[in-house]
């Protein structure tokens, strides 16, 4: 009797874990701890979440560069005219498609400060609107764009 109960329990465990894993979502949508909830704070938080997904682990200057590219796109006529339009544009950023955009960023973190730096006007990319990691990218078209410079493992292009 004992052995069979064990088998039954195992099956229930397997089935149960199936059900539970498919019912819970990915990184849950949490609210950011913005201090005063003004527009600029929310924009910075959104930007930080995107940069975190794209350039986590890169040096500070690399993160400022990625943030600057996103901001350059907002000003560029070929891209949507709002920060969220640029970030949420389908197929633009892997950080959006894999859910990392929902991870809240601490205002004291390096990536948040890098975003503030970029929003204050620092642009180490010289106006670039594309960037890619040559070791990882599969998109052939992007190699045709003129490269402005290389920072860390990313190339920045116009």
């Amino acid at each position: 009797m004992k052995r069979n109960t064990l088998i039954i329990l195992c099956w229930i465990f397997v089935a149960g874990s199936f059900i539970i894993s498919s019912l819970t979502n990915g990184p849950a949508l949490q609210t950011a701890n913005g201090s005063d909830g003004s527009n600029t704070n929310n924009d910075t938080q959104l930007l930080a979440r995107c940069v975190n997904g794209e350039a986590r682990g890169e040096p500070y200057i690399g993160q400022v560069a990625v943030a600057a590219v996103i901001l350059n796109r907002v000003k560029h006529p070929s891209f949507p005219n709002t920060l969220s339009g640029v970030i949420y544009q389908p197929q633009a950023f892997t950080a959006v498609s894999d859910g990392q955009i929902n991870v809240p960023i601490d205002e004291n973190s390096q990536v948040y400060k890098a975003c503030r730096e970029a929003m204050n006007g620092s642009d180490p990319t010289g106006g670039a609107i594309y960037y890619y990691n040559p070791a990882k990218t599969t998109n052939q078209w992007i190699y045709n764009r003129p490269v402005v410079k290389t920072i860390g493992k990313h190339k920045f292009a116009k």
Binding site: I19, S22, S78, F79, Q91, S122, P124, G126, W141, K149
Partner: protein, 459 residues
């Protein structure tokens, strides 16, 4: 033989104490669960596809309107009519572009299309402003409009065709459907491919030069300060940077690369004590464009006013004369101060330098001079002031209580520089800056001043 025995063995085990039915039930549960999940994913896929369909049909709708409005604009006679049509056109183009940005196609395939949509509304609006000022449109401009209309007609036609394909079930947006079409062997047109065809239709679309913010000549302006300046060597760049940050602080400077952006620069890393500072020095003229020091001061030991004094000293020491604080923003134990060049009585806002000061030592830990390098002129021609201060006050909305009046030079969206009275006033608990042109009394710009304990922001 062994297999047969195994089968017999399993059968035996199953018939033992209802095991058979238990296994059957569990399998049914898992299978049912799997089917349920599959159906859910189909639902989600459909939901996403519907979202794309909505964005696409909206795009078609707005491009259709854009085409019609542009056609009318070409034959409009009265300036007021052209103005009204230009406003409509701009609205249609903006919505079309917003919806285009929601479609699942990589930017490579809509670069020119998006560009066209950005510029067409802008261009027509700038022409309508000309007409309002009494200037006649040149034949070249009218030809330009006709050309634009041809493009919009082409775009409209292609999009209508795609829309029919979509309603006919042939065109799908989501990329997951491509797999099935590959398996079933086609009958489905991919959205990517259709967009590429449209994009190719714009390959002859030459960039527009006109009086607006998206015009090529405004976006790609040559920076003034480095236009005719000679190129400096790497060693010279290193020396200048060392001098800039402080020869006593910097132990060494290395060139880590070059930047071929809108301003050609050397990328440098300066070694200071325990850390490295990133900087960029322009190749032409050897001006420091950017300094990024990551240092975070542990505490604040001075007020913002003292930091401003330190910053002014720093700027004067490095040859930037006549720079005055305009706005500041405090972040943690650092403060970022905006400096504008002052010529005579006028604060020249375009010649902008941002300096970040550490509030413990007062040293410069951040520097950004893109605005200054792009726009600075040592001596601009100051205009004759046809409007007096008193008259300027009269031009401001009487509901605003004016508290202060200064003079400034501000940039307009089309790149033009205008000299104005800067009137600061209050209304409904909000602070405003109103700019009145000194030459003709036009109300050129209104800004809202957002002030909090961390500094001031203008929008």
């Amino acid at each position: 033989m062994k297999f047969r025995e195994k089968l017999k063995d399993i059968k035996g085990r199953l018939s033992d104490r209802h095991m058979y039915s238990i296994v059957l039930v569990v399998t049914a549960v898992i299978a049912g669960f799997g089917i349920y999940q599959y159906k859910r994913s189909i639902d989600f896929k459909d939901q996403v596809e519907r979202g794309y369909q909505r964005a696409f049909t909206d795009l078609v709708h707005y491009v259709n309107n854009l085409d019609a409005t542009l056609t009318k604009a070409i034959v409009a006679n009265a300036p007021s009519q052209l103005s009204a049509l230009a406003v409509d056109l701009w609205r249609h183009a903006a919505f079309a572009q917003a919806n285009l940005g929601q479609l699942p196609v990589s930017n490579a395939e809509l670069d020119n299309t998006a560009n066209f949509l950005s510029q067409v509304g802008d261009y027509t609006y700038s022409l309508s402003k000309k007409a309002e000022n009494g200037e006649k449109l040149t034949s070249e401009e009218i030809n330009r409009l006709s050309e634009l209309q041809k493009y919009s007609a082409n775009l409209n036609e292609k999009l209508q065709q795609m829309e029919s394909e979509m309603f006919g079930g042939v065109l799908r947006f989501g990329s997951f459907s491509n797999i099935t079409s590959k398996i079933t062997g086609g009958g489905e047109q991919s959205f990517d491919k259709s967009m590429s065809e449209i994009e190719n239709g714009f390959s002859e679309y030459a960039s527009l030069i006109y009086d607006g913010p998206f015009s090529e000549h405004v976006r790609n302006r040559k920076p003034r300060m480095i236009q005719d300046a000679p190129q400096i060597s790497e060693d010279e760049a290193k020396a200048r940077l060392m001098n800039f940050i402080g020869a006593d602080k910097v132990s060494s400077v290395e060139i880590t690369g070059e930047s071929n952006g809108d301003i050609l620069t050397y990328s440098c890393t300066a070694s200071v004590q325990d850390r490295q500072i990133y900087a960029e020095v322009t190749k032409n003229g050897g001006h420091v464009l950017l300094v990024l020091d990551e240092r975070q001061p542990e505490q604040a030991q001075m007020e913002v006013q003292d930091a401003a004094m330190a910053a002014r000293d720093f700027l004067a020491r490095n040859g930037y004369q006549n720079m005055f604080e305009s706005y500041y923003q405090r972040e943690g134990n650092t403060v970022l101060i905006n400096y504008a060049f002052k010529q005579g009585d006028y604060v020249i806002y375009t010649d902008l330098i941002k300096v970040k000061i550490a509030l413990d030592t007062g040293e410069m830990i951040g520097f950004e001079a893109h605005g200054y390098i792009t726009n600075h002129l040592d001596k601009r021609q100051l205009p004759a002031e046809s409007i007096s201060e008193g008259e300027a006050r009269g031009k401001v909305n009487s509901a605003i209580e004016i508290s202060d009046i200064n003079k400034a030079m501000i940039p307009l969206e089309n790149g033009k520089e205008v000299f104005c009275y800067e009137l600061k006033g209050r209304h409904n608990d909000k602070n405003f800056l109103v700019y009145i042109n000194v030459e003709n009394g036009n109300e050129e710009k209104i800004l809202i001043l957002l002030e909090n304990e961390n500094g001031t922001l203008t929008i």
